[in-house]
């Protein structure tokens, strides 16, 4: 599973952030398959492009719809969703099916480290260690990737 470089859908209404994210993805060994700015666009692209991973902001250009987007991408498209938001505290307890969250404002190093870490988790089905600073895993994914004994450090 996930032998090739992971394909990533960026769901972000700030274009400059999205463009910079694409560079960071490449540097971390992943690649962008598309960019959505609204919830409908995000769900359509997730269906059409079959990304491995979706980076989802909570506030999109049609409102705070990112949580629903993450749930649909997780439930219907079989992709792994990861929140990237300034509203970490407002996420539902189950992370809407997403694997975790990177809090904004993030540093480029923080994002690259988190993406490299997630790549290993997804490829091996097993975390190589506790989550790096800046990345918080959802309880479900922490358990799935064998971290239930060691709680990841909140970043």
């Amino acid at each position: 599973m996930y032998e090739q470089s992971l394909g990533v859908l960026i769901v972000e209404d700030e274009v400059l952030l999205a463009v910079e994210l694409e560079f960071l993805l490449e540097e971390a060994g992943l690649h962008s398959v598309g960019h959505a700015m609204s919830s409908t666009e995000a769900v359509t692209l997730a269906h059409d492009l079959n990304p491995d991973l979706a980076l989802v902001d909570v506030h999109l250009c049609d409102g705070p719809t990112g949580v629903d987007v993450a749930r649909k991408i997780h439930d219907d498209c079989g992709a792994v969703a990861l929140f990237m938001t300034a509203n970490v505290k407002r996420l539902p307890d189950d992370f809407a099916g997403a694997c975790g969250v990177i809090g904004k404002p993030y540093s480029s190093h923080g994002v690259k480290t988190a993406l490299e870490y997630l790549t290993i988790c997804m490829r091996q089905g097993q975390a190589p260690g506790p989550a790096p600073i800046g990345l918080t895993l959802s309880p479900q994914y922490a358990a799935l990737w064998g971290l239930d004994a060691v709680m990841p450090k909140a970043g």
Partner: protein, 369 residues
């Protein structure tokens, strides 16, 4: 009229039984407490005696009430449940006390503290009822006013509480909104710097932009940390340093530089968080940029502890030393000096032989003891 005659006879019999010069009868006749006696042996239990105080209280003449049942005292607003309770006690021949709304002859009402007790003869047969009445309208009025004002107060408190709860909710929502915008804008600023940095080829410009990016990142880390804790007014300096070091170390790509940390938990006021973070970030960046040129490996130590009255922040490296490093970063040093001035902190740079040691002493005033 037969009833009336019968009642008068009964009254005479009562008086005869007690003797007309009986001092108890005289006392009852003269007391200020309203009192009546009814004849329980006659149909409908009529009044056969009423003292002057009763006539004065109710406004009736004696002739108007002798021979009548005392329910004429009741009126439209008399509580039916209390009436039923009185009726039941009288029927059962039991004593009862009640606070009941009664009416005078002129139609005005008064609160009556009524006490009725049965009177029995030697054989135990019920012969009379004795009843005393006391006007407690003043007491009732005070009671009602108290209960009204208490109710009013409770309502006021409830309204005020709701207002405050609403205000708090609004404040919290606003705080979240502002926090969200600050973080997003910081992210935007850092993305702008990163994007432009990717296009710049001049190494000097690239270095200057990189330094600026580090500063923005330091402020961004402050904001990420500030709202993570429940206390938005305090800032955990050591937690910040841990984040910052992880970031600086990771993004430098220098595996040959080792970090050692000795961090006590130290909180400063949120207002001081950004300037202090900038100072620490600047010092760390200086170490990374200048202490270990040409792949020279080394160590950087960061220590935070509380000394008497001060927070002591130490950043030391074992690199090329103060002589060679100080010249190179004019703007960074200016920032450190200015911010230390703002924080009323003392910065001291010494030769660590090898390397450089910078110690910042920050006064604790206003910080948690």
């Amino acid at each position: 009229m037969t009833d009336l005659i019968q009642s008068r006879r009964a009254a005479e019999a009562l008086a005869a039984g007690q003797g007309s010069d009986d001092p108890f009868a005289a006392a009852i006749g003269a007391t200020r407490m309203a009192m009546i006696v009814t004849d329980a042996t006659q149909a409908d239990n009529p009044i056969i005696f009423a003292n002057d105080a009763f006539l004065h209280l109710t406004g009736y003449g004696r002739d108007e009430i002798i021979g009548r049942n005392c329910r004429f005292l009741q009126g439209p607003d008399t509580d039916p449940a209390e009436r039923a309770r009185l009726r039941a006690a009288i029927q059962a021949g039991e004593d009862i006390s009640s606070e009941i709304l009664n009416y005078r002859k002129n139609g005005t009402s008064f609160w009556n503290a009524l006490y009725i007790s049965p009177v029995r003869d030697e054989t135990g047969a019920l012969t009379h009822f004795f009843a005393s009445q006391l006007d407690i309208s003043d007491k009732k009025r005070t009671q009602m006013m108290l209960s009204d004002s208490q109710h009013g107060l409770e309502q006021l408190v409830a309204e005020r509480t709701q207002e405050l709860t609403q205000a708090l909710e609004q404040k919290t929502a606003l705080l979240h909104e502002v926090d969200h915008r600050v973080k997003n804008n910081l992210q935007l600023i850092s993305s702008l710097l990163l994007l432009q940095n990717r296009r710049v080829s001049d190494p000097a410009v690239k270095a200057a932009m990189r330094a600026m990016l580090d500063r923005v990142n330091a402020i961004a880390t402050v904001h990420r940390r500030l709202f993570q804790s429940d206390d938005v007014e305090r800032f955990d300096v050591s937690a910040f340093v841990r984040d910052l070091v992880a970031d600086v170390m990771g993004s430098s790509g220098r595996n040959d530089i080792e970090f050692s940390l000795d961090l006590e938990r130290v909180d400063v006021a949120a207002a001081k968080a950004a300037p202090l973070a900038l100072v620490i970030s600047e010092l760390l960046s200086n170490c990374m940029r200048h202490a270990f040129p040409d792949g020279r490996p080394g160590r950087i130590f960061v220590g935070i502890k509380r000394t008497n009255g001060d927070f002591r922040i130490e950043i030391a490296d074992d690199g090329v030393g103060i002589e060679s490093s100080a010249k190179s970063s004019g703007f960074g040093l200016t920032i450190i000096q200015l911010l230390c001035q703002q924080l009323k902190a003392k910065s001291e740079t010494t030769d660590a032989q090898p390397g450089t040691r910078v110690v910042i002493n920050l006064p604790v005033n206003g910080a948690r003891p």
